[in-house]
Amino acid sequence: MTSLFDTICRFMDKNQNSILTSKKLSESLEKVKDMPSSGEVSQLSPFMISLTVFILAIFVGYYVVWKVTPALHSPLMAVTNAISSVIIVGALIACSIPLLGAAKYFGFLAVMLAAINIFGGFSITHRMLHMFHKKKS
């Protein structure tokens, strides 16, 4: 079972560098735990790190979003839409490298579309929340 899982992880990530770093990490961990060396060193892949973060973030999202008042579900959708455009991070990298042929527009378009969302999403959220705010007086 364990070895199968390791194989999957290794398959999911064949990055030699990170395997080296995680080797060092697991070696030092072994020293701390003073475990008998079994010969096979466990290798934590970046995929597992991302998966861990992903699952934990889903839990955070779950508990935070249930607390949102139903009256603000529309602003919630607008703001989550805006922040899902954080893929602009990938788009910016794509836009900054010289690509060939039709591909050279990919980055530009990706940045532009994400930017429409970011600026549009935040300003529509602001507009909506402003309406809820002025009611207080």
Partner: protein
């Protein structure tokens, strides 16, 4: 900027996004929430711009400025009643953007640190394919949702013969193409994969009717999050993974709340409209007695009541009646008549749609109540004014096991002393079910456009 420093700033940005959602828990802190989100996004963009992976800037700045101008212009110009369309359109852009990012990674993997042309790591290839496919599906799905909400396509469900099997076939095709992409790493396979996902996006949304849009919009919201998380896995960027997971779970929770509001399962919304059951039921209502009221009656009864509850629905949004309703509520307040607003979870075309429209008109959100908080109040209420809502008030949901909406939580307006129902005609609501409330002793129908009718009530209220 070193990789560790970038990762640190990305972490701060992720925390900002979490705080942004947390602050939406109450209207008092919500604006700070939006500021947190803006801060997080600014930090994320700046950190990326300063990282060594970004080499050329001129394209970036023109794209950013162009996007900003378009985005802000649209957000300022849009009417609040058109909000669901706008959100659907925005979702489609996230999807398309994800497709382009995935394509760029495939074409130039070394720039993203995921391998080299012809030798991309297998896990990354799967993530590129999956991220691109979810993006493509979100793109066309949202476009169809937009077209339905904007009235370009009719809100009626369009179902192809063998629709379900075609969808399953396309789903299998996507999985096989992912496998093929893994083996070949070919651009052609990637393009076909994207095209199949584009088609599937259309077919998934086209059979879904107008009133199910709250579920669909939430679902697409969720997809745009999963697409972002997919790109995050590809680039091994934990901020993208965290943000995608937050957005994904947020959309999923909203879909769940909307489904519960209709007492339908998610699968049921995706795979079948109400349509077919509806026709047989319509015939039986002809000989029943309907009482038509006049706006003058309504104004008189409102004036002589102690407390009033207004139940708004999609019809209010269509007719832009919210400002007239605000005026009415002002008049009632001056007469010290208690007025409350009751909002069903699925009223309107997106979650929280009614709340935003009432807020826009300047109605105090403290007078606006959710279903479970107000349902017991109807029995002590003199007058209920239903404006453009229908199915969410139908008592058949409680009494008639044959009804397609049986089991759906509804607003118990029939318990009030008098019900005024503003509606254009006696036609059935979206569910195609006749509303037995129309034939009750204590119900008066006010036939007409929601806005004009409310304005006439206001006028006779003043004249009296």
């Amino acid at each position: 900027m070193s990789e560790n420093l970038s990762a640190f700033f990305y972490l701060i940005a992720s925390v900002c996004f979490i705080l942004a959602l947390k602050d939406l828990a109450s209207a008092k802190t919500a604006r700070r929430g939006n500021q947190f989100a803006i801060l997080g996004m600014g930090l994320a963009i700046l950190t990326t711009l300063l990282s060594p992976m970004v080499v050329l800037y001129q394209g970036i700045f023109s794209a950013l400025i162009l996007g900003a101008v378009i985005g802000i212009f649209v957000a300022k110009a849009i009417k609040m009643t058109a909000l669901p369309q706008l959100v659907a359109a925005f979702h489609s852009l996230v999807g398309l953007s994800a497709v382009f990012v995935a394509a760029a990674v495939l074409v130039q993997p070394d720039a993203f640190g995921v391998g080299f042309i012809g030798d991309i790591r297998p896990s990354r290839l799967i993530e590129i394919g999956l991220g691109g496919a979810i993006g493509a599906l979100t793109f066309t799905g949202s476009l169809v949702a937009f077209a339905k909400l904007q009235g370009i396509l009719t809100g009626k469900p369009h179902i192809l013969p063998m629709h379900f099997f075609i969808n399953i076939g396309l789903g299998i095709a996507i999985l096989s193409l992912l496998g093929l992409l893994l083996v070949t790493e070919s651009y052609a396979v990637f393009s076909v994969l994207i095209i199949v996902a584009l088609v599937l996006g259309v077919l998934l949304i086209i059979p879904i009717g107008g009133a199910d849009m709250p579920v669909i919009i939430s679902m697409l919201n969720s997809y745009s999050g999963w697409a972002a998380a997919g790109i995050g896995f590809t680039l091994a960027n934990n901020m993208l993974v965290i943000t995608g997971a937050l957005v994904g779970s947020s959309g999923a929770i909203l879909s769940y709340i909307m489904c519960k509001g209709m007492n339908r399962s998610f699968v049921n919304v995706i795979f079948g409209g109400y349509g077919s059951v509806a026709q047989e039921k319509a015939a039986s209502s002809e000989d029943k007695n309907v009482k038509a009221g006049s706006p003058e009656d309504a104004a008189f009864l409102l004036k002589n009541s102690q407390n009033v509850i207004v139940v708004p629905g999609y019809g209010m949004a269509v007719a832009h009646a919210q400002h007239a309703i605000k005026e009415l509520s002002q008049l009632l307040k001056e007469e010290s008549i208690g007025i409350k607003f009751a909002i069903h979870p699925v009223a309107g075309r997106m979650p929280g749609h009614m709340n935003v429209l009432l807020a826009e008109a300047g109605i105090d959100y403290e007078n606006v109540y959710e279903l479970e908080d107000i349902n017991s109040d109807f029995q002590n209420t003199d007058v209920v004014l239903v404006i453009g809502a229908n199915d969410v008030t139908n008592p058949a949901a409680k009494t008639d096991p044959q009804s397609p909406i049986y089991g759906m939580p509804i607003l118990d307006v029939e318990n009030a002393k008098t019900v005024f129902f503003i509606k254009r005609s006696l036609s059935a609501g979206y569910a195609g079910v006749d509303n037995e409330l129309f034939y009750r002793e204590n119900t008066y129908m006010l036939f007409g456009d929601a806005k004009k009718m409310t304005e006439t009530i206001v006028k006779s209220f003043k004249d009296d």
